[in-house]
Amino acid sequence: MSNHQNEIKNTAMSFLEVQNVSKIYQAGREHVSAVNGITSQVMQGEFISVTGPSGSGKSTLLSILGGLNHPTEGKLLVDGIDVYELSVEQRADFRREYLGFVFQSFQLIPYLTVAENVLLPLTVSSHSNSEQKEMALSILEKVGLTHKTRRLPDELSGGEQQRVAIARALINQPPIILADEPTGNLDSATSEEIMKLFQALNSEGITMIMVTHNPDNIRYARRCISLRDGKLVN
């Protein structure tokens, strides 16, 4: 995966591109347009915040970018791969290779320890146990949680749980991190810690795309995309 980062760093081409993407949901007899004809490009190493009021289509757009939500129309190209042309299983492999997810409510597996949660994406890889252990320790060191590897998620604070979620997103060394309201459940001090961590990761070349309501978070991003009624505002 580090190859992806190196290749992209040396090119001026967009790494992620959405082309006229729309998503229409059916609610009873009505059709609701969540995302409406969005076209945008993201360069490798960018830190983008996606903002907008509730129901503006931010989360839908993020799920489309994450290869989880087939758009009704349009294309998503990542590193030249037409993501929605891939089969369901190929798209799972794509997510594992290219993306790391960070959710608002952390989404940790409650019966797995900190280390096991971090290692989850590697369980379907060919890494040996010792390699996995080494990788987990390295990532946990980065997020400052080496002393809590054997704890269960509910034994951690909100900030610590989000750090575990970030470590899990990073373990496969993906070139893109997608974060959905990553500080939504955290106090302001912890939010700032998390945002600084994101900034540090971005400075290492990881592309960050973050959906947020919080104006304090926007200042960490290099570019801000605003949505309203499923359309790009600026």
Binding site: L62, L68, N69, A92, F94, Q107, P110, L119, L120
Partner: protein
């Protein structure tokens, strides 16, 4: 960490649900094990009883002549001595390939002779074998111990007007009545039984036999095969399986087996339903978790593997527990059903393997749909936050 670690951790976390899941299968498997063990014990007991009931193979000389009747069976050569059987034939019978299925070989020499000026059926027998074969014989007096002692059927005693310890002569040889048979309702009531060697000597038929009765232990024994093997050994003899005894035996054996299969199928179906509903409920509870797995790059097949590994582990455990529970229960149930003391029920490793295989098959089959459903969950629906 591998996928199976996720399954193991989840099973450990949901211990109570796992207990419920295992119980569902354990009830099914243990019922099957109990019924099969009791069925086997009953079959063995029935077979043993029926084998004790008497002969199931009759060997007579081949003859085209008219025959006398013995117990409804056609006996050739009594009067005509055509290709008669010999003492050595007894050994030949005991040397067949399926000799372990041969329980008793009871040779007989039949003769009609005059005792006290009345025609009487005198049969020379090997008393030891005869008493083993006819366990229902009840004797007033004692069993003949010596060559000059005889056993009289109830009707023969009345006809001849002689009782225990009284004597009578056959062809000039004096015999003492050692015992009188209680009425059996069979041909034995009209017969005078004497020692085989004496019978051969006084009737001038040394080494000769009129017929041989064989009791084969027929619990699953190939009776037709035994008949064929004896026929090969004794080409001059007509070997006949007494079908009535065998068929009634097989019918009794199969009746309980059919009952067991019926009950087992019902209980297994219920067990499968429990597994199915529990696994489906577990999948529904884990929707969010499955969404997380899918979002971080687990394939649909990985999700199925996690669910099916859990099903495999729980059903393996259920098979193991089910066997030992069923085996323990059958040790209590079998003596009550059989009412013949405690039948032997040794540890049956084949049944153990069968129990585990049955539980695994049932558990996996009942979990395939829930696993498939889990793997097809829309990650967006599963992950409400995205």
């Amino acid at each position: 960490m591998k996928l199976y670690n996720i399954s193991l951790n989840n099973l450990y976390r949901r211990r109570m649900k796992v207990v419920f899941l295992v119980l569902g299968l354990v009830i099914g498997v243990s019922t099957v094990v109990t019924l099969m063990t009791v069925s086997d014990a009953m079959n063995a007991d029935i077979a043993k009883k029926l084998d004790e009931f008497g002969a199931n193979i009759l060997i007579v000389p081949k003859s085209d002549d008219l025959s006398l009747s013995y117990g409804g069976m056609s006996i050739s050569g009594v009067s005509f001595d055509v290709r008669q059987l010999r003492e050595e034939d007894v050994q030949k019978i005991k040397s067949i390939k399926n000799r372990n299925n041969i329980s008793i070989v009871a040779p007989k020499l039949l003769n009609v002779t005059k005792i006290q000026r009345r025609d009487v059926f005198v049969v020379g027998v090997d008393f030891k074998q005869e008493f083993r074969m006819k366990k229902w014989w009840s004797i007033a007096g004692k069993k003949p111990q010596h060559g000059d002692e005889a056993l009289l059927g109830a009707e023969a005693k009345d006809k001849l007007g002689i009782g225990v310890n009284q004597t009578f002569e056959v062809e000039g040889k004096k015999f003492t009545v050692a015992g009188i048979l209680a009425p059996t309702g069979s041909q034995d009531d009209g017969i005078v039984f004497i020692d085989m060697k004496e019978a051969q000597r006084i009737f001038g038929k040394p080494d000769r036999l009129s017929m041989i009765e064989v009791a084969a232990l027929c619990y699953d024994c190939p009776i037709e095969e035994i008949v064929r093997q004896i026929s090969e050994q004794l080409p001059g003899a007509k070997v006949t399986a007494i079908r009535q005894a065998i068929e009634s035996k097989m019918e009794a054996m199969h009746r309980f087996q059919h009952f067991s299969v019926g009950i087992s199928l019902v209980v297994l179906f219920i067990g499968a339903l429990i597994v199915f509903t529990t696994m489906t409920a577990a999948v529904n509870e884990r929707t969010r978790e499955i969404g997380i797995f899918r979002s971080i790059g687990f394939r649909q097949t990985h999700i199925m593997m996690i669910i099916l590994t859990e099903a495999l582990l729980t059903s393996f455990l259920a098979g193991l527990v089910g066997y030992f529970l069923g085996f323990s229960v059958s040790r209590f149930v079998a003596p009550l059903v059989i009412m013949n003391g405690g039948p032997e029920m040794p540890f049956n490793h084949q049944l153990l393997i069968f129990s585990i295989a049955l539980a695994v098959l049932l558990g996996m089959a009942s979990s395939i749909y829930p696993a498939y459903k889990a793997s097809r969950l829309d990650p967006i629906v599963a992950l409400k936050s995205l």
